[in-house]
Symmetry: C2
Subunit: 302 residues, 2 copies
């Protein structure tokens, strides 16, 4: 019998599926797969094995560790609430929740998980699909330290950098701040390149100058050329960017802080959603700031 815990995956979207593939590669048994979109389960199962089920308690029954990667706060509450959900028969299990949700959700989930004799952690990912696949995620963990130590060997296989941040909700706060700042820098970069384009500047030159000056940023490296080339294949969608900036803004509201840049950024990604561009990568915010692109989308909608 293997010493490694059996893994269940709830949410086999791009991130969840690639985490499953990675864990399979390094020797873990993927015991169960669950997603409202059954075809994504089937696709994942071809690579990882594991029982495809539409019963959450069945995932819990088959698994020692359940990794959840769902879309939002509501989905988190749903999978953990009441009969027929993950906490049915969950005694001794540990839940590792990877979705970016409102930090207080993790506090609530920890409470109900512990009431059911289980444990829970948040494992917030500040990286994207290739890193999930290769086990090189940047992982920030919140929850009880003892729970963290219990799944640490697995988390180490998923990550290049693993950081225990603090009690439940703390890692999610940091994650929200990372994405808030990243989204601001992205929307700001799109404005710089968009105006440069309007002025007829050579954008290769402009990106090079940005990279060597105070305008440099990680998103310049990851998104600059994509903005120029309108290559918005999705790694991190505009919809997700809107959600994450929204989470940060609600934290700010609770603290009575006014954050005008975060607000303006949120509104840009919300505008993308209204224009039907929410499925583009976040780099697609340049569609709003380059001279002729915006008009195209507005025209297309009216």
């Amino acid at each position: 019998m293997s010493a490694l815990p059996k893994i269940g995956i709830v949410g086999t979207g791009r991130m969840g599926a690639n985490i499953a593939r990675r864990l399979k590669d390094v020797g873990y048994t993927i015991a169960a797969l669950y997603d409202v979109n059954r075809s994504s389960c089937e696709e994942t199962a071809r690579d990882t094995g594991g029982e495809i089920t539409d019963s959450l308690p069945r995932v819990t029954e088959l698994s020692d560790v359940i990794i959840t990667v769902v879309s939002d706060d509501a989905a988190m509450y749903q999978i953990f609430s009441g009969a027929g959900a993950l906490l049915d028969g969950a005694k001794g299990r540990i839940f590792v929740n990877c979705a970016t949700v409102t930090p207080s959700v993790h506090v609530d989930i920890e409470r109900v998980a512990e009431a059911a004799g289980a444990q829970s952690l948040e494992a917030c990912m500040a990286s994207s699909i290739p890193q999930a696949r290769n086990g090189t995620l940047y992982l920030m963990v919140g929850g009880k330290r003892e729970a963290f130590e219990r799944v640490r060997p697995m988390l180490e296989k998923m990550s290049a950098s693993l950081k225990y941040i603090g009690e439940a909700g703390r890692a999610a706060q940091v994650k929200a701040l990372v994405n808030m700042v990243m989204n601001i820098n992205t929307a700001g970069l799109a404005e710089g390149l968009g105006l440069g384009n309007a002025l007829g500047l050579d954008l290769d030159m402009l990106r090079e100058v940005f990279s060597q000056t105070g305008a440099n940023s990680r998103v310049l490296e990851t998104d600059g050329l994509d903005m120029q080339n309108r290559d918005h294949d999705c790694y991190f969608s505009a919809e997700h960017a809107a959600k994450d900036s929204g989470i940060a803004l609600s934290l700010a509201e609770d603290e009575d802080l006014r954050l005008p840049l975060a607000q303006a950024t949120f509104e840009q990604f919300e505008l993308m959603k209204r224009l039907g561009l929410g499925g583009l990568d976040k780099s697609g915010v340049s569609e709003l700031t380059f001279p002729n692109r915006h008009a195209q989308h507005l025209t297309a909608r009216t």
Copy 2:
């Protein structure tokens, strides 16, 4: 007789004075110094020599190359306009204009300089005081290429990176974009750290996480710790940040582009000016976004 041209400096503020010191160090003769603030001329002259004068034509008379580093568009027009200004007796001289001003100003200055039998260039600096002192500026040049080649040896002594961008106004456009994006990233970082502080997160940890994720930026390196420590000794003032973001916004308006992040950033730096914080370094924008700092300034003003 030295083969090196004699240098006049108009504007002996921190940048102008340190450019003068650098050029003196590498063998140039500083022939003339002019500033409306005579004491800054005297301080510079102690290190560089050169005649202190309150006559602009006297600067032109004494110098082969006149470097101007003045505060804004109005000051640029003033020093180049009419009798008693720099173009009196300017035949054969070359003007190297280092201030960050509206790009079209450089086009106007080139025209009047050429009409006076002189040449002009813009040499836009994307770096700060230590780089001016050490001759390691990041310099972007706009104007006629022939004029650029004429002063290239001097510009090379001033810079670690020297880039010819294009015709008059082009370098200033790029500079405006650099500062617009830098200012956005700065104001955005201040929001991230301010909210982190409000949430009680360890800001050393938070900056480290930012540096390793999509939130990373040059301004995180240059301004992050200063924001945390309220160390706002001025390298690049909030006032200048407001001016430069304003230049970029006026370019955007001419192009009929809407840039909400640049606008929100401009408004933050304008708010600093209204609160009497315009003389702080741009990092001081964190005074607006950390939980208890903002209230202090508002209280102090009301």
